[in-house]
Amino acid sequence: MKESLLPAALAVLAGLAALLAYAALASPYLIAAGFTIVLFVTLSASWNLVSGYTGYVSFGHVVFFGIGAYTASLLAVKGGLGWPAATLGAASAAAVLALVLGSITLRLKGAYFAIAMLGASEAVRVAASTWESLTGGGSGITLPNLLSPRGAFLLLGITALGTIVLTYAVAQSRFGLHLLAIREDETGAEAMGVAATRAKTAAFVLSAVPAGIAGAANAWHINYIDPESTFPILLTIQMIVMTMLGGGGTVLGPVVGALLLGLAGEFLWARFPFIHLGLYGLLIVGIVIFIPEGLLPRLMARGILPRTRRL
């Protein structure tokens, strides 16, 4: 497998170069648009790591984004930390929350897990708005300007790239194979010696980290957080739609989905904010009916793309 690492390494370098060039050259408007795109890529790729590979659909993944945003903001405002340390804090908080939530909810079967995660994210959102002494409640937290929009873009862009690399590594590994086995037949996988709950929990923690960093980067980007904008169910729905569109359980599926949806959102339907949610609804229905397995797996099945775990 060693020799074939070269194309992947080159792709990562190219991605890094593109991010740096974009951060250096793009106009403020394009930086803002680019931020949305890398946000979408990070979030859908992170959702894919657990839900795409194990089939356990999380309806509450936004909770890691939210906990990241709050942890980073509080560490910066109340703890006086700089953005790097506060961002690390956000990643750790997301990981710990995933470990705690996962060891409870991942014992539940599919649909119950989905609902439990929805409940968990709503519970954390309510906690954020009622624990006023800490979080400022509904009026939110205003942040000092710690990182420029370009810096926030670059931070999140590199996180997006890192999440893709992480997914690539998982997909090639025995661990990744175990996750896919769980997705297909958890009982069968366990009978073959796969420690399913452990593997799912590990994937969950891995997937929470980039989402937590994204929450922090978003806070650096807009310098303000409040419960409503930090735990929106819409964001979870977007993660699900993007991954389903591109194809869950593949490395690049969620990236493709995020690019398509991000660009469409940015340049087409941002003008119609009120039908936004309705469009997502229609899109979900369309995907489920016409390409339930997602674009990439469809292209692989057709022989247009090679059928490999590397893509």
Binding site: R174, L177, M192
Partner: protein, 244 residues
Amino acid sequence: MTEPGILQVRHVFKAFGGLQALSDVSFSVPRRGIVGLIGPNGSGKTTLFNAVSGLFPPDRGEIVLDGRPIAGRPAWTVARRGLVRTFQVIRVFGQMTALENMLVAAPGLDARAEKERALALLDRVGLSRHAREYAADFSYGMTKLLEFARVLMPGPSLVLLDEPAAGVNPRMRETLWSIVRESREAGTTFVIIEHDMNVMMTLCERLTVLNYGEVIAEGPPEEVRRNKDVVEAYFGKTAERAER
């Protein structure tokens, strides 16, 4: 054989609602043996495999593998202690290649050694040409063979086979049984559920017979075949008629 067997099942009970699927089942499996488990449809053979392999805990009773109690332990722990099984209803991973299916069950050696082992086993069951094809595209017989090869992948000490030959063509069936014999020579123990009595007579050193969730006979095949209860329960009316 004074050495304790590799597996002891003692006074195991399992009910599904009002149905007593296993009722005070005890039997033991000698190390490096091939033991047959027979009985009419619905007599509890698969349920016994499920309880032993940790798919669900028995309601009561002890199960001891290699001197350690395993009743109620989760399936993956039991598997990692060396007991693996196949399913009567096949359970291969369709969205994975045959090779990937094998690697899921790998024992945790270095990657190259595992791959070689996987390919060798696939070759043994005649699937090496299909190693990189997806199991979803396999015929029923091929899937059975893949599941059989996969169960040997971790290098288990005890293998439970639930009707492994059903749906496999006669030539591959012979191969399958000869792999069982070879693996036994290499130190693996087998418990086999199989309806073909001719196969069971020649393959197994011992037979255990279940009927309505109870063990009604146990012993060497010749002895079991002559047992009246077995003739009645298992061979049923046709056997009685034949004897008349």
